[in-house]
Subunit: 230 residues, 2 copies
Amino acid sequence: MTSLESATNPAHEVPDVSQLVVGVLGGTGDQGRGLALRLAKAGQQVIIGSRDAARAEASAAELGVGVRGADNATVARESDVVIVAVPWDGHAAILTALREELSGKIVVDCVNPLGFDKQGAYALKPEEGSAAQQAAALLPDSRVTAAFHHLSAVLLQDESVERIDTDVMVLGDDREATDVVRALAGLIPGMRGIYSGRLRNAHQVEALVANLISVNRRYKAHAGLRITDV
Amino acid sequence: MTSLESATNPAHEVPDVSQLVVGVLGGTGDQGRGLALRLAKAGQQVIIGSRDAARAEASAAELGVGVRGADNATVARESDVVIVAVPWDGHAAILTALREELSGKIVVDCVNPLGFDKQGAYALKPEEGSAAQQAAALLPDSRVTAAFHHLSAVLLQDESVERIDTDVMVLGDDREATDVVRALAGLIPGMRGIYSGRLRNAHQVEALVANLISVNRRYKAHAGLRITDV
């Protein structure tokens, strides 16, 4: 498919998201900080969250580009779209605590439940099927999507890297919500947000990070995915 | 990474596989026929198998390019590398029946255990973890790998398509065996075989086909995957 065809494929159309505030829970971690940086550089209003407001503010000041910091509950309340970039260990507890603040919001889960042993990374099997389905179960009043699983936190945070050539698989059962998330992904140079199915098919997308870790070890790379023919 | 760097990354080196005979179980199905065609066009000796030898021979004659046909047991016996491209339904039974013939052979499982309902495709959860792990459990004397999951059978079989720009994720616990499979994948114009982890991480690679089916529906595409930065 040529880029012209790609540009005219109506499935690639996205809504205007320029006025939306994006919050990042776990915004002081590597993945969260990297996403906050890239979205803020693209002109989006971004607030990063932490349990400790002072820590979030300090991390935001370091990032610059207009990023603000606050405690997780404030971030959830003041954002339209909330990216969940917390460790899998704390995932259920944080979402349970923020259920009310996240009500009505678009939630973007990007958590990869992985275990590690001598042979490397392997996929954990959350009881609900996936981290994203756990989020959906804990947040019945939110619009839960899943995305941003396969991005290298190293590349995201490296400001000398201008383009990150990779696609963002966006999953969810709410079309409008996945369209917003696709739009946000597409703001980052080199990235496209590609709709990639319902939440019930989130496990394999999360788990695939274990394979990318194997690729990175073998090829000494920061591997990502590009979806061909779209 | 430039193509020069890619070419000089020792992780991309592959052995000479030009003398190996490749068998395809389920070689009269769309996926099997497509793989047989592409490998034979690349100069490999290929035999396709079916329960019914006459059917395999007829299908081989249609394909041309030197492809031979035989019953599954003969294919397993006469091949060095055996691609398993059978429906998930018949997977365990066929492998159990061919255990002896497949002894010592490199087995390449490319089966995707999927279910379908009104909402589309979803991943099944084999008791052993994945189709590839089921193959490894049933074939303790074979060298089981997993690969070729994400290729469009439509593109594989369409001779007007000269290049298929996609990577083949190759999994396995036997380095030499995965190197052979990477080499075979790399024979097909546009493809690279990329080592992508151990068999215990095969489930998500198999299951990701459910997501690619969603991509195909939304974008009217024949989606594949390219691994970036390798």
